[in-house]
């Protein structure tokens, strides 16, 4: 059993679990989660074996673990076209990604058991598609009844779907070509749709699911275009074939002034924008909070958005093709840098204004992803990968912690029976420190890591590297923006922790909240360990004191990846004299932000009181709370027009206008003529008026009856006609 075979086996257990649960154990809750967790465990085991053997292998980057099989031997011979292949490959990047993916996935699986109240009684009024609303336990003798959380009605379904999700992510990580990546990518898209809309009876959940699916689709189309372009240029979709074909890729593309590499890089990067929620397409991610919290952790930490950044790392050779460190960056990189930096700041500001504990985390995720993208944009490959890993750990931790908090609050809600209270609103919490100690400590560790508490936490090291890269590559704008974002990050983290845990309980629900089950807290603890320790493998040499002691394993490992196409160099962090400015900055912003956040919200006493910072910001605050009115903007700018297109254009103009207009123009004409003549023959005014009305009514009738069309074939005819027209235009205008 060689390592390659093991790699093939990694994604299979979750898939098997999915099939088993869907087909057989749909009714048996315990069996279902046993199968799912066992599958995740096997994948975890395999992943660990692979990871160990990967880090112990010499020169993994040059000759990675790889094996591939043909699945469609096709294409004109002679040309560069290779047969389509399905293959697996573990190079340093995929090894690292695999490491954190299997860990977080396993933790999330275990956590889900407790989150869905396994072992609790069936709910009184629960039905599939709604979150469990609690069950009443009546004690016969004591004549008392108490309300306890009830088990999720669609328990097995959840585990089936999330197993499929894990399968897709693992496929994406171990694959050696963009095509398989795309496959896993799309499966994940579907799973996120199904899981965000898991409680499909909630209209908001349905809407969020559709929104997430559609928004990511936009990106996926561009990704597909990028794949097609890549295949048509170098005739292969394999990672390893990108760099050898550099000169083919450096040729100018259909867009003047932009090389094929740049074009493909940009196209695929738009896919990344969609999947990991960068600036224009970020709107779906906060709404995705409608799903169960494990799903949020899955989507926003371990898998989906990480997949986006992972793909960004994979297309880095394309985006940077023909660029060597020190030179001005390429078009694609500029795009990355600015979109990333802007997103980082922009999302951070929104996060400050949110009161929903999960929404804050969602926006912070967006901003952290912006960090990584920006890092890639300035060429800090290793820093981006590093932050990807650390962020996966502490953001998973934070989400699971917030889920635990919400769980505790729901306990309180069940106790008081006040179902109008939103258990996710941080203003209703407070003082949970004493009631949920484990959650508090782990959440705090995660928060510290997120805000980059110096030296101990993982977030500090990765962020510091990014800032160093931005500073060192001399992009001051990016650097300043990222620093500001870091400040805000620390600020809203402090705000969150203060509002949630510190102070006194602001509601009676918060009074009665209590700690979650073991199955939920143990994963928190495990993840919190990583949230701290994951950073120590990446301490830069130049760091005063520690740098000499601890070797920078991560950089040596991932840094050996061959990425710079033209020069064929490897992905070292841009070598700069390690100046103390970025270091000082990151120290300053993290500590300062934390302090500010704590001070600002320390004395926030009563629930529903206006936000202390909000009072000062005033008008700008409302913008923040409403997320810059982005959804409204999109509704106005895109959804309306598309509806208009389908309704008015296809429907009224083409169908009613062109088709029926032609058929009925004649009839209408005669009708009018008849009415006209009769009116002038007839001198009687009343008569004429009545005739006019008659004609008018008849015409209106014919018109209105025709509006009720909507026949599929007529849409198809329209499509075909347009196809012919467009084809003719392209053929004669462009080609000829």
């Amino acid at each position: 059993m060689t390592i390659e075979t093991l790699i093939w086996l990694i994604p299979l257990p979750p898939l098997l679990a999915f099939a088993l649960i869907v087909l057989f154990t749909n009714r048996r809750k315990a069996l279902s989660h046993t199968i799912a967790v066992a599958a995740a465990g096997i994948s975890w085991l395999l992943g660990m074996v692979i990871f160990i053997s990967a880090i112990t292998r010499e020169g993994l980057a040059e000759n990675p673990f790889a094996s591939a099989i043909n699945w469609l031997p096709i294409g004109a011979e002679g040309a560069v076209i290779h047969p389509f292949q399905i293959g697996v490959q573990i190079d340093p990047l995929s090894a690292v990604t695999l490491f954190f993916v299997v860990w977080t996935v396993l933790m999330i699986f275990i956590y889900s058991i407790g989150y869905h109240n396994f072992g609790s009684p069936k709910g009184d009024a629960d039905q599939p598609g709604l979150p469990p609303a609690g069950a009443t336990l009546r004690d016969k003798k004591a004549k008392t009844k108490r309300v306890v959380p009830s088990v999720e009605p669609m328990y097995s379904r959840f585990f089936a779907l999330i197993s499929l999700f894990a399968f897709a992510m693992l496929v994406l990580v171990i694959s050696d070509n963009f095509l398989t990546v795309y496959i896993g990518w799309e499966i994940m898209g579907f799973c996120s749709y199904a899981l965000i809309g898991f409680w499909y009876a909630k209209p908001s959940a349905r809407a969020a699911a559709v929104k997430a699916f559609m928004t990511t689709r936009v990106g996926d189309i561009f990704l597909l275009l990028g794949l097609v372009a890549l295949y048509s240029v170098i005739g292969s979709l394999n990672y390893r074939d990108v760099i050898p074909n550099a000169q083919a890729l450096m040729a100018t593309s259909v867009i003047p002034g932009l090389s094929w590499a740049g074009l493909i890089g940009i196209l695929m990067f738009i896919g990344v924008i969609g999947k990991s929620a960068q600036f224009p397409l970020h709107i779906w991610l906060p709404d995705a909070m409608e799903g169960p919290t494990p799903v949020s952790a899955m989507i926003h930490a371990a898998t989906m958005v990480s997949a986006g950044v992972y793909l960004a790392l994979r297309i880095f050779p394309l985006a940077t093709m023909g660029w060597t460190p020190g030179e001005p960056i390429t078009t694609a990189m500029t795009l990355m840098a600015f979109i990333g930096a802007f997103t980082a700041l922009f999302a951070a500001t929104i996060a400050v204004g949110q009161n929903d504990i999960k929404r804050v985390l969602a926006y912070s995720t967006i901003s952290q992803l912006g960090y990584m993208i920006a890092a890639l944009g300035v060429g800090a490959y290793v820093a981006a990968a590093f932050h990807l890993m650390t962020h996966a750990f502490f953001k998973a931790l934070l989400f699971l912690g917030s889920g635990s908090v919400i769980h505790g609050m729901e306990h309180g809600v069940l106790h008081t029976g006040n179902h109008h209270l939103d258990p996710q609103d941080m203003r209703n919490m407070g003082g949970l420190k004493d009631r949920m100690p484990r959650t508090f400590w782990t959440f705090t560790i995660g928060g510290m890591a997120l805000s980059g508490l110096p030296v101990v936490t993982a977030g500090f090291w990765s962020k510091d590297e990014i800032l160093t890269g931005a500073f060192g590559s001399g992009h001051m704008v990016v650097f300043v923006v990222l620093a500001a974002a870091a400040l805000l990050t620390a600020f809203y983290t402090a705000r969150q922790i203060t509002l949630t845990f510190l102070g006194k309980p602001r509601t009676s629900e918060a009074e009665h909240a209590h700690e979650s089950a073991q199955t939920m807290t143990v994963p928190l603890i495990v993840l919190s360990v990583f949230a701290v320790a994951a950073g120590w493998v990446g301490i830069p040499h130049a760091f005063p004191g520690l740098g000499e002691l601890v070797p920078n394993l991560f950089e040596e490992f991932v840094g050996s990846m061959p990425v710079y196409g033209a020069a064929g160099e490897t992905a070292h962090v841009i070598e700069v004299a390690h100046s103390y400015i970025p270091l000082a900055t990151s120290l300053l912003v993290s500590l300062g932000g934390l302090a500010l956040g704590y001070l600002a919200y320390r004395d926030y006493q009563t629930a529903g009181a206006p936000d202390p910072v909000g009072r000062r910001l005033g008008f700008y605050w409302t913008w923040l709370e409403n997320r810059y009115y982005f959804d409204e903007f999109y509704r106005w700018a895109f959804i309306r027009p598309s509806q208009w297109l389908s309704e008015v254009f296809t429907y009224r103009w083409v169908d009613k206008g062109i088709i029926d207009g032609f058929l009925h123009g004649v009839a209408r004409g005669t009708l009018r003529a008849g009415g006209f003549v009769r009116n002038w023959i007839d001198v009687n005014v009343v008569n004429r008026l009545s005739d006019l009305t008659g004609v008018g009514v008849r015409e209106a009738g014919t018109e209105l009856r025709r509006v009720q069309s909507g026949h599929i074939q007529q849409y198809m005819i329209t499509a075909a006609l347009l196809l012919v027209v467009v084809g003719a235009v392209i053929y004669f205008m462009v080609l000829a």
Partner: protein
């Protein structure tokens, strides 16, 4: 004008005419019969291409299975034995326009292709090689480094279609 070409022309004309009848015949059953005729014509074209295997598979699959299914469906969904309602919908003229456009576009694009007229190799008249060719195809379809996966996917597709059809068309108890 070799005899083969004459045969080809006759067959294509017949096939096209019957295809036109398929889309314009009033009675669905007659349309189905015309469809069978045109499918047979295509089978003959395959014979002129010296792939008797596909010619016969064409007959087996289309005439033996699909056409029978269609006739079945026509019989099951008939109103009365001769359906009297209109053949085409209101957009027929636009549809004709679009179809003509597509045809014109395709033919135009084809004639625009410079290697177009030049390709006329002599087919190796090897009815003996036919058997070996079929054997090669069979091996390729099941050998894992050739087309095993598409083949399996196709079979899964068939199974799925089978189950789905049974589920959809089956009476709800």
């Amino acid at each position: 004008m070799t005899p083969l070409q004459i045969v080809f022309l006759i067959v294509t004309v017949a096939t096209l005419i019957s295809a036109v009848m398929v889309v314009s015949a009033r009675r669905m059953l007659h349309a189905a019969l015309w469809l069978i005729l045109s499918l047979l014509g295509i089978a003959v074209l395959f014979v002129t291409l010296e792939t008797s295997f596909f010619a016969i598979v064409q007959v087996m699959v289309y005439v033996g299975a699909i056409a029978i299914l269609i006739v079945f469906a026509v019989m099951l969904t008939r109103r009365d034995i001769q359906d009297r309602d209109k053949v085409t919908n209101r957009g027929a003229w636009a549809a004709a326009l679009a179809a003509l456009g597509v045809a014109g576009g395709l033919v135009g694009a084809l004639t625009g292709w410079q290697a177009f007229a030049s390709i006329r190799p002599e087919l190796a008249a090897d009815s003996a090689a036919e058997g070996t060719r079929i054997a090669q195809l069979g091996m390729a379809l099941v050998s894992p480094d050739a087309y095993a996966i598409p083949f399996e996917v196709a079979s899964v597709l068939l199974i799925g279609a089978l189950i789905g059809a049974i589920y959809v068309a089956g009476e709800r108890k």
